[in-house]
């Protein structure tokens, strides 16, 4: 193993780095889909936030201002999705596709308008690695898990928090019910529309953390279409993890591991394209019902209309 993949600690560290944006976006997708709104726009939400973060950091010279910009952009775009799907009853798949195209076109457009040239933005202040004292001194796993960027630690925290919110709070119960039997939620006097706006808004905020990690954690600049399908891998992780925070995080770690191996394994061992296919192939296998069927929330994809 050692000769092929380099040091195991390095492999683990790079697995965490690749998995972080996937985990964050998948947790976001969970809030949206559990409320009954399909979000195939995760890719676009990540992309616009990755860009907004760089703009904010570049204007202020401060990474946290960048983070604020990113959260605002992710929230804004998510609210467009909610407005279209929930309020105007547009098709959720189409709206998600449009969000992706809008983010791609919008970031390409603004890259030229703001920074004067397409392709890549100037370098900005990012979230640098911040080793946690003591924990990062543990052999092998210490540096891999606890000498990471602040956003990675935030991800560690958000997995249990998401689980708790979804399964142990009244809000989570209402959100899940909205995705399964909206009529019942409505009858109980809770607004289906409001719950779905909350779900989609949370998906925007979480996906934006994933996006900002790409442009200000992994790199310190924005490049055009830098998400490059990660939003769809996050969607795959969400489904592979059966719409459960722990499952989705596990799936994202697996997919992150596949990416880490892709980078580190010698080319002639396994063609990297086949490793890159892995998340998508596994998701199809799970969707087809092998190893226990993945079942989506019952009311997902359907606009709710009061009788």
């Amino acid at each position: 193993m050692g000769e092929i993949f380099g040091a195991p600690g390095e492999l683990l560290a790079s697995t965490i780095r690749f998995a972080t944006p996937l985990v964050l976006a998948a947790l976001g997708g969970m809030f949206s889909e559990r409320s009954g709104v399909v979000n195939i726009g995760l890719e676009g939400l990540m992309l616009i936030s990755a860009f907004a973060g760089v703009v904010g950091a570049s204007l202020s010279g401060n990474a946290f201002v960048g983070l604020g910009f990113a959260l605002a952009a992710g929230l804004g775009f998510a609210l467009i999705h909610a407005l279209m799907c929930v309020t105007f009853e547009a098709d959720q798949i189409i709206s998600g596709t449009a969000i992706n195209l809008l983010a791609l076109g919008g970031t390409g457009f603004l890259l030229v308008v703001i920074f004067g040239a397409g392709g890549t933005s100037p370098r900005v202040e990012g979230f640098e690695e911040l080793p946690i004292p003591l924990l990062s001194d543990i052999p092998v796993v210490g540096p891999a898990l606890f000498a990471q960027s602040l956003l990675v630690y935030l991800m560690y925290l958000l997995v249990p928090v998401t689980f708790f919110v979804l399964f142990r709070t009244p809000f989570g119960l209402r959100l899940r019910a909205t995705g399964e039997v909206p009529e019942a939620v409505d009858t109980a006097g809770v607004s289906v529309t409001r719950m779905r706006y909350y779900g989609v808004a949370l998906s925007g905020l979480l996906a934006s953390l994933g996006g900002v990690y790409l442009s200000m954690g992994l790199l310190s600049a924005f490049t055009e279409n830098m998400t490059n399908g990660r939003g769809f891998i996050a969607l795959a992780a969400l489904i592979f993890g059966r719409w459960n925070p722990i499952g989705a995080a596990g799936a994202a770690l697996l997919f992150g591991f596949a990416q880490a191996v892709t980078i580190q394994a010698p080319q002639d061992l396994i063609p990297q394209e086949f490793l890159q296919m892995l998340p998508y192939v596994l998701t199809i296998i799970v969707l087809a019902g092998f190893g226990g069927r993945a079942i989506a929330p019952a009311a997902i994809g359907k606009p709710y209309r009061k009788e």
Binding site: V38, I40, I80, M84, T87, F88, E89, A90, D91, Q92, I93, I94, S95, T97, A98, I99, N100, L101, L102, L104, G105, G106, G108, F109, V112, V113, G118, N225, G229, F232, L235, A236, I239, P271, E273, F274, Q276, M277, Y280, V281, T283, I284, L287, A288, G289, I295, A296, P297, A298, A299, I300, G301, K302, P303, Y304, R305, E307
Partner: protein
């Protein structure tokens, strides 16, 4: 919530009077959503242009000039429209069966690598070489498209997710073939260049780099129309889309028609990829074209999932892209504005309630457009 689906033939207005009148009223109704979306999108675009300190009128004038202002411009528009007709048909045919084909991107790549592989390895096989290669694209695209159809029919796996996943599988598979078995030395990584005898010729007539692939795309649209509205199979596919229960009761086999509709869609997109390789690039490079599959969704929706509408929608998209280059040249507005405009159109084109708010309920009834598909079973 299928019980509150708006009936497809509601408005008195649309069913009364002479055939001609009926056709006109229906066509007018069908255009309400697309025209509304296009109009709003251009208004939003104007605001964006204004915000960048440019004159929207000047920008749009340059856009129009670049789309249809000269034979070369028209040629560029046709060039851009060609693959979108194919990917638009790929979405439209599946949609007629009530299925969402988001897999155009991957299907196009499968066709492209089929054409590149055969084009490079077969050599010239007589005057019908191009036809043979494109028929091979039909075959590989059909088989590739059948995968999500089979997964849906046999296991109930939702086609939206499986086609998204298959996009990336197809792209990586095509990339692998182009970079490993077919790799040649060159500045841009990719396959060898295909012999000029197996390429689709330019139209000429001052139309720039436009090639006969556009006419192949028109032919494909005619084939799609005949298939859907003039064959027994097409009737079944549409029946399954309109009312799966009734179609099933009539013994039409939902499974078979599901597989066929997605497979046929895959074949269309794959031929589009083949035409790009044989008509435009002469090889498959890495990276290859992007977003043609996703834009096909917009094309199909603008065209109300009718082959004639798909052609019109593709021409609009093609014109926007070719016009945007002129706009960037003549003014300071970046050409990426075209993508923003298209995204806004796509965002609005199914927003039933919004049209209703702005134009009143009658407009919506006339348009008869309610896209309502649940992801859960």
């Amino acid at each position: 919530m299928s019980e509150d689906r708006t009936p497809q033939v509601p408005d008195e207005e649309a069913t009364r009077g002479s055939t001609l009148r009926r056709v006109l009223v229906n066509a007018g109704g069908a255009l309400v959503f697309p025209l509304f979306a296009i109009l709003i999108s251009f208004l939003i675009g104007a605001v964006i242009v204004l915000a960048t300190g440019n004159n929207p009128l000047a920008a749009y004038a340059a856009l129009l000039q670049g789309a249809v202002g000269s034979p070369t411009a028209i040629g560029t528009m046709l060039l851009g429209a060609t693959p979108l007709i194919f990917t638009g048909l790929a979405v439209a045919v599946a949609f007629r069966a009530g299925l969402f084909n988001i897999g155009g991107e991957g299907q196009l790549y499968i066709g492209a690598i089929t054409a590149a592989w055969l084009g490079v390895s077969l050599g010239f096989l007589g005057p019908f070489s191009v036809v043979l290669v494109l028929l091979a694209c039909v075959l590989t695209g059909f088989l590739w498209g059948a995968i999500p159809g089979f997964l849906k029919a046999r296991f109930g796996a939702h086609e939206v997710i499986t086609t998204i996943m298959l996009n990336y599988i197809g792209i990586y598979l095509a990339t692998y073939i182009a970079l490993k078995p077919l790799r040649t030395e060159g500045l841009v990584p990719g396959t060898d260049t295909i012999d000029i005898a197996i390429r689709i010729p330019f139209i000429g007539l001052g139309l720039g780099r436009a090639n006969y692939g556009f006419f192949i795309a028109l032919l494909a649209a005619v084939v799609a129309y005949l298939l859907l509205w003039r064959t027994r199979r097409g009737f079944q596919i549409r029946a399954v889309g309109l009312s799966p229960g009734a179609a099933n009761y009539a013994g039409m086999g939902i499974g078979v028609n599901t597989v066929l509709a997605l497979a046929i869609g895959g074949a269309f997109a794959a031929v589009g990829g083949g035409v790009e390789v044989l008509g435009v690039y002469g090889k498959m490079t890495v990276p290859f074209v992007t977003n043609l599959g996703f834009n096909g969704i917009g094309v199909a929706l603008l065209g109300r999932n009718h082959p004639a509408g798909v052609v019109l929608g593709a021409l609009l998209f093609g014109g926007l892209y070719s016009g945007a280059q002129e706009m960037q040249f003549a003014t300071d507005v970046p050409l990426q504005l075209a993508n923003v405009l298209l995204a806004v159109i796509l965002l609005l084109v199914t927003a039933t309630k919004l049209v209703e708010l702005v134009l009143g309920k009658r407009a919506r009834a006339l348009a008869g457009a309610r896209l309502e598909k649940g992801l859960g079973q």
